[in-house]
């Protein structure tokens, strides 16, 4: 580590220049905060490391790819067996489909890791089932009315959920809630189509957002988003 000492002292340290109230967002793939070897956390990012260290990384990246492919193959094969019973003939279709799907996954960057909370899931299930019922009854009421009662339009909603699985689940569940449908997803902004634009979108979606956060064990809202929380 000593041979990089001159480099380290010459490198600006953006970490220390940030106001204390705004925690630094670490780029994906950084584990720990430069712990152990006394380096500023920012410098452990691959891009900041001297060339010789970066060269040592590919094997780990390859291992990560293999783990990702293996996980995908296992999940898809499990689904296939569950759906078809796993007969030999079925694999003639299922095998290529699973391989193709696994290859497709690598067209997209690896999503951030997530974990589910069992308690959150138990609370989310019945709540979601009830919303599904209310959503369908709402559509039924409008469809069967003498004149469909509609005041459709689009609204933008800024979510505080992090990208990846939480945000995607949020977007998809919105579509199954009464009167709302996700028409577009651009980073933290969701374009919501509403059957009745007089309804209070904020009051409808914030509770859902909180439940999705609880489901994924996201205890606190990321502070940098909470500051610019939109109406």
């Amino acid at each position: 580590m000593n041979q990089y000492a001159d480099r380290l002292s010459a490198t600006p340290q953006p970490l220390l220049e940030r106001p204390a109230s705004r925690p630094v967002q670490f780029p994906l793939g950084v584990h720990g905060q430069g712990a152990g070897h006394g380096l500023p956390a920012r410098l452990t990012r691959e891009a900041d490391l001297p060339g010789i260290v970066v060269d040592a990384h590919p094997p780990r990246r390859v291992r990560r790819h293999i783990a990702r492919a293996g996980f995908s193959l296992a999940v898809l094969a499990g689904l296939w067996v569950a759906l078809t019973g796993g007969t030999a003939q079925g694999w003639m279709i299922g095998g290529p489909a699973i391989l193709a799907a696994t290859a497709l996954i690598f067209l997209y960057p690896a999503p951030p890791r997530w974990r589910l909370s069992p308690v959150g899931a138990l609370r989310f299930g019945p709540w979601f089932a009830l919303r599904l019922l209310l959503g369908a009854l709402d559509v039924a009421r409008r469809a069967l009315g003498r004149r469909p009662r509609l005041a459709p339009g689009c609204r933008v909603f800024r979510t505080r959920l992090p990208e990846g699985a939480p945000r995607l689940l949020f977007a998809n569940v919105i579509t199954l809630l009464p009167g709302t449908l996700t028409a577009g997803l651009h980073d933290e902004l969701l374009l919501i189509h509403m059957l009745d634009t007089d309804a209070d979108l904020e009051a409808q979606l914030r509770p859902l957002e909180a439940r999705v956060a609880a489901l994924f064990r996201l205890r606190t809202v990321p502070p940098h988003l909470a500051l610019e929380n939109t109406p």
Binding site: V139, A143, P148, L150, P152, N172, P178, L181, A183, H193
Partner: protein, 98 residues
Amino acid sequence: MSIELLALVLIAAGAAFFVVGTIGLLRFPDTLCRLHALTKADGLGLGLTCLGVALLVGSVGEMLRILLIWGLVAVSSAVSGHLIAGHVLRSNAPVRGR
């Protein structure tokens, strides 16, 4: 007997929601509103039908398989609804109250 009756009621209710979804599809004014009818009413319709069928099958494995099918259809209906809505907004299709 009573379980079969309950299953019958659930399946009938599921079919009714499919019919309502189709009525909405026909009566709602534009593509986006029609998507509401399909994603919500048909989603619940399939859910009720699956629940009814799951009550009728004997084994737990079959029940889980039916629930899995419902889950996959629910996800694909939400995702395809999202894709269709995105396409509608990018195209020049008439949309009310844009």
